[in-house]
């Protein structure tokens, strides 16, 4: 059954030869059916909404849970048929996985449209009503439009039959230069600038917060000092470049920092990770089985 598994380029129930009337009919039919389904969901009475959401959530989760629990067939080469029914299911699950992953990709793409709508509504509104800080909104809307325009223009050129030529900047046109300027010249640099601000914030936060107010804070500060010094190769080299450390290699800065990292930091992170992992397992379970509901005060 090829309900989800459309692996390979073979023709099956879900597709048809490129450009054929059959394919167009199938696409139109799919659109009509999904439209009807969509409006059907909107029209569903309020008391049915929870069960509907619950059923969909359960089915979506069931696929991944089965995929994870079902014995997976090993050493499978393309073009092989399953040996037995257990393998049959394993093959089917494996083949269906990319299609199921595509569902969420498609959904995300649609939702991005809603996000863009939110941005546009808030900022166009601000611009039109000349509300406070409307200048920022103007910059935002202009940047968005320019990026879309040149991004797609460049994309279409690059995906044309002669797109390969654009690998060489000597063949670039205005749209390629504009897109490069917006992407590499502006966006990337602003990204980097934003990230580098963290260095300043780390300095001011450490300066303000790192005080030895208690025994614990003192131990923490000492550990931090050792780790920071061990990252400074020149300091670590100077520290270790004497006969005492050379005969007691466990006292080198790298060795102490390594010990702290392996025996103090790693176990505590593991502890926290276990807690977080189990927390998200329980959360996922409650969502999957529809046990999670909004709290009523």
């Amino acid at each position: 059954m090829d309900l989800l598994a459309q692996a390979g380029a073979g023709l099956n129930f879900w597709n048809a030869p490129s450009g054929s009337a059959e394919l167009i009919i199938k696409i139109v039919l799919a659109l009509v059916l999904s439209g009807a389904f969509f409006f059907g969901l909107i029209a569903a009475p309020a008391n049915l909404r929870r069960p509907i959401v619950g059923v969909f959530t359960f089915l979506a989760g069931l696929f991944y849970v089965t995929y994870w629990l079902w014995p997976s067939a090993i050493a499978r080469d393309p073009g092989q048929a399953p040996l037995n029914p257990v393998e049959g299911v394993a093959f089917w699950l494996e083949d269906a996985l990319p299609q199921v992953a595509n569902f969420s990709n498609i959904l995300t793409a649609f939702l991005l449209g809603l996000g863009v709508y939110s941005v546009a509504r808030i900022h166009v509104g601000k611009l039109v009503k000349r509300q406070r800080d409307w200048e920022f909104s103007l910059v935002l809307i202009a940047s968005m439009l320019l990026m879309i325009l040149f991004g797609y223009w460049n994309w279409f050129n690059r995906h044309s039959p002669t797109g390969g030529l654009l690998e060489d900047p000597a063949n670039w046109h205005f749209q390629q230069f504009a897109s490069d300027m917006l992407f590499d010249g502006l966006l990337q640099q602003m990204d980097a600038a934003m990230f580098s601000m963290i260095a300043f914030y780390i300095l001011s936060a450490a300066y303000r917060a790192f005080r030895i107010r208690s025994v614990e804070a003192t131990i923490l500060l000492a550990a931090a000092l050792i780790v920071m010094l061990s990252l400074m190769g020149a300091v670590a080299y100077k520290w270790g470049n004497n006969s005492f450390i050379q005969t007691h290699p466990n006292l080198s800065l790298e060795a102490i920092a390594g010990w702290l990292s392996d025996n103090v930091q790693t176990p505590s992170i593991r502890g926290i990770d276990f807690g977080v992992g189990i927390g998200s397992l329980a959360m996922g379970l409650r969502i999957w089985l529809n046990l999670e509901r909004q709290e009523a005060s």
Binding site: R76, G115, A206, G275, L285, E295
Partner: protein, 329 residues
């Protein structure tokens, strides 16, 4: 005794060991954890009173909202950077609680989203909360915003909002990455009271340095149980604690096991070893190593494809419907 896979009927039916040794232990272990959670949910539902310890960061929520109300400045919430997942749902659950307080006191709110799916869900949940509080007229459609799905564009957008709107209380809950400190320091500079939590362990220190209250690790997941005391959530939390005890016990058993075989008997010779998922006599004589411990055998060498190299390849028939990838139209 060596474990003879061939003598098992399953192995004969299914051509070798591949169905027996593909990580069953982790599956069973996880199912036990799932059972713990479900069992405790059942216990809590049947009216058993379960205890949760005090969590300072969650007690401070009321104080933070109260102060924002006094100052007449907005409360800003960010559910992290991730797409729609369990972490975000948990963050939004906490934000629903915060919004409920804000709706009662007619305090403005701002929810900033970095993912379009999260934005849509957040909008629904926040509007529902206002409706439940009978204060739908106070709900501002612009209070839940999609800013950008680019990490640093989002960081810049949210920092700008914190500065311009002079947020009096900020809640950063969910999966935060490098932007955590940008948010926290910006909000610190406006004097906001900050409650934060990141499921990313590496960002927690940044929040601790710059925020007033931080939920560490799974305290984040305990939040909704703590705030609402719903039996399902409290039960689930107790189940999580049972699971943690089981994991700690397994780790301890492993440590004792390894110590017992390597510690006092150093120099003893290994007879059997588990390589590539199969236990077999050692090829060359060698001393006992930690990898020979039973607990290690249980937890390691069960990975899927790694073992396939050493096992006989199953001879499968050809699939008549197969079309090679890339060879189609």
């Amino acid at each position: 005794m060596p474990f003879d896979l061939g003598s098992l009927p399953m192995a004969q039916i299914y051509e070798g060991a591949q169905y027996l040794d593909t990580g069953w232990f982790s599956r069973v272990f996880t199912l036990v954890l799932v059972a713990f959670v479900l069992l405790n949910i059942k216990r809590a539902k049947s009216g058993k009173d379960l205890y949760i310890r005090r969590i300072a960061g969650l007690n401070a929520i009321d104080e933070a909202v109260g102060r924002a109300t006094e100052m007449g400045r907005p409360v800003l919430m960010v559910p992290g950077l991730s797409g729609m997942n369990a972490i975000v749902v948990q963050a939004l659950n906490i934000f629903v609680y915060v919004t409920r307080l804000c709706a009662r006191f007619a305090n403005p709110i701002l929810v900033c989203c970095a993912d379009a799916a999260v934005y849509t869900v957040a909008q629904e949940m926040i509007r529902d909360t206002y409706q439940q509080e009978g204060a739908i007229e106070r709900y501002d459609t612009d209070s839940v915003r999609f800013i950008s799905d680019r990490q640093f564009a989002f960081a810049a957008g949210v920092s700008g909002l914190i500065q311009r709107e002079q947020a009096a209380a900020t809640f950063f809950m969910g999966a935060f990455y490098a932007e955590s400190l940008i948010f926290a320091e910006t909000a610190n500079s406006t004097g906001a009271i900050q409650i934060a939590s990141s499921t990313e362990t590496t960002q927690t220190p940044f929040f601790i340095a710059a925020c007033d209250y931080v939920l560490i690790g799974d305290e984040f997941y305990a939040a909704s149980a703590y705030l609402t005391r719903q039996p399902i959530l409290v039960g689930s939390l107790v189940g999580q604690d049972w699971s943690k005890i089981l994991i700690a016990a397994t780790a301890l058993a492993g440590a004792l096991n390894v110590t017992a075989i390597v510690g006092p008997f150093t120099g003893a010779q290994a007879t059997f070893e588990k390589t590539a998922g199969v236990i077999a006599p050692v090829k060359a004589p060698r001393a006992v190593a930690p990898s020979d411990a039973f607990m290690q055998h249980l937890l390691q060498g069960q990975g899927g494809a790694m073992i396939s190299k050493t096992l006989t390849k199953p001879q499968r028939p050809k699939d008549p419907d197969y079309h090679p990838v890339g060879g189609g139209s």
